[in-house]
């Protein structure tokens, strides 16, 4: 399974803070976005296992944690 986390305005828009996806072979970040209804959401930052990535073709693995985040606004 892949755990998907949502933060900030994205979580509010989707009405949830996380969900689980069944892992399948050759599943990219773009595939994850499509599965959770986030295709076209901009601006969007992505982290896999707490490391930010800009590679939307990155292949996620069973057990990965994928975070979908709006731009940061701390401080």
């Amino acid at each position: 399974m892949i755990k998907v986390l949502f933060f900030g305005s994205i979580a509010d828009k989707l009405g949830k803070r996380d969900c689980m996806l069944s892992a399948c072979e050759y599943m990219t970040i773009d595939d994850v976005l499509e599965a959770v209804g986030c295709i076209g959401v901009q601006p969007l930052l992505v982290a896999v296992n707490q490391e930010q990535t800009h590679d939307m073709d990155y292949l996620v693995q069973d057990g990965d944690e994928v975070a979908l985040m709006p731009p940061f606004s701390g401080g």
Binding site: F7, S9, A47, A67, F72, S73, G74, G75
Partner: protein, 144 residues
């Protein structure tokens, strides 16, 4: 002051600027200049009143990103030590939000590092703020 306070922390409770400066000074007697940045909650933003600000973090990643910033600042600037504390909770006007303390032999490097740290924290650390206003709640999307 707790005898051991981590140099990098995300916490809900308030912090003491005085205690953080004292903790920094304990690490070295070679500091000729200590610069602090204290970020506080405003009661007005984007032309409207702000009742409160709610913070959210990506737990784990946020503190790791702050630690990475500290490491990079220590490598990049001619400074001796850095402490950073960020609150993640609901704050009201005047409340403290974030504190950065930088110690160096000379002030110029401490000023430069402190400015770089707060500017870069806003870009790299997964923390978000939502302002509660008379017109409703609004996530802050930019990092001015």
């Amino acid at each position: 002051m707790p005898s051991v306070m981590k140099a990098i922390r995300i916490q809900s409770e308030d912090f003491s600027l005085q205690d953080e400066v004292a903790a920094l000074r304990e690490t070295s007697q070679r500091m000729g200049g200590i610069v602090t940045f204290l970020g506080c909650a405003r009661d007005f933003s984007e032309g409207r009143d702000v009742f409160s600000i709610e913070f959210e973090q990506y737990a784990g990643m946020a503190e790791a990103a702050m630690q990475a910033l500290r490491d990079e600042a220590l490598d990049t600037f001619d400074i001796i030590d850095v402490r950073m504390v960020h609150r993640v909770t609901t704050v009201h006007a005047g409340d403290q939000i974030v504190l950065i303390v930088v110690g160096a032999e000379h002030r110029k490097a401490a000023f430069e590092a402190c400015e770089w740290l707060i500017d870069t924290l806003k870009k790299r650390v997964p923390i978000w703020k939502k302002e509660v206003t008379p017109d409703g709640d609004a996530w802050v999307s930019e990092h001015p």
